[in-house]
């Protein structure tokens, strides 16, 4: 099992709200993926491939910007929709992690809900942990 497959397995085990996770190359081509069993994907795979192509291009721009402007290392990107959050994290120089997390409110609340909190600290620590096994 490659460390990328290990990464996907660890993420799916860590958080039941993760619906889909994939590792792509720098062109956005999906190399490994894992989908939660008994759950139908909200976004068709073809559409996800289009999203990943754009995200890959955006990450190339962000990594170039790291050297040009003084923001420090780019860590992650989240796009939040009403039903899902889409997270991208650069795993290394050649691979991008893409995660789809359920964002529908867990309980009914009197106040308007804008979705769930994503535990980015834990996700990032899993990525860092798996990267130590190269």
């Amino acid at each position: 099992m490659s460390r990328y497959e290990k990464l996907l397995n660890m993420l799916m085990d860590f958080d039941g709200s993760i619906e889909f996770a994939a590792v792509s190359d720098t062109t956005g081509k999906i190399l490994w993926n894992s989908a939660r069993s008994n759950l139908k994907l909200k976004v068709p795979l073809d559409e996800t491939k289009n999203v990943l192509k754009r995200e890959s291009g955006d990450w190339i721009d962000r990594c170039k910007a790291e050297d040009r402007i003084g923001l420090g290392r780019a860590l992650y990107h989240i796009t939040s929709f009403e039903k899902t959050k889409h997270v991208t994290i650069p795993v290394d120089a050649f691979h991008l992690l893409y995660i789809v997390v359920n964002n529908e409110p867990m309980v009914k609340s009197k106040k308007k809900s804008y979705g769930r909190l994503v535990e980015m600290g834990k996700m990032m620590s899993i990525v860092d942990f798996v990267n130590t096994f190269e």
Binding site: N50, E66, R73, H77, T79, S80, F81, E82, K83, S125
Partner: protein, 124 residues
């Protein structure tokens, strides 16, 4: 309202679909890390991304916000309306205290930011 609500917000702007900044606010005493030209380029990319994200609306609902997290700051965009205006916010992301575990920055209080945006929309 945004600048008053959260001291860690360094810069906020609203731009239109052409990337023109139509409103901006900068926290006093804080020097920009990123040049305005660079920020404009980021906003243009965000406008394109939100336009493409609209293809997903039928599957996952409306887009709420995006966050790009760097070691020093978080850059947040919020689509404001159907005519394509977006709100851009730059928030301090440096760790506030020493921790035994590795820090990946501060949590952006998106619930409060979005509730302010909704409140302002309702006042129009």
């Amino acid at each position: 309202m945004l600048m008053d609500f959260n001291d860690s917000i360094r810069f906020a702007a609203v731009c239109n679909t052409n990337g023109d900044i139509v409103w901006t606010s900068q926290r006093e005493g804080i020097k920009n890390i990123v040049s305005l030209d660079e920020t404009k380029q980021t906003m243009m990319r965000a406008i394109e991304a939100w336009a493409q994200n609209s293809n997903l609306k039928g599957h996952v609902g409306s887009g709420l916000y995006s966050i790009t997290s760097y070691e020093k700051i978080k850059r947040i965009t919020v689509p404001l309306d159907d005519d394509g205006k977006i709100l851009f916010i730059s928030v301090n992301n440096s760790s506030t205290k020493n921790s035994k575990t590795k820090s990946y920055g501060q949590i952006a209080d998106m619930g409060k930011i979005l509730s302010i945006v909704d409140f302002v929309k309702s006042e129009r």
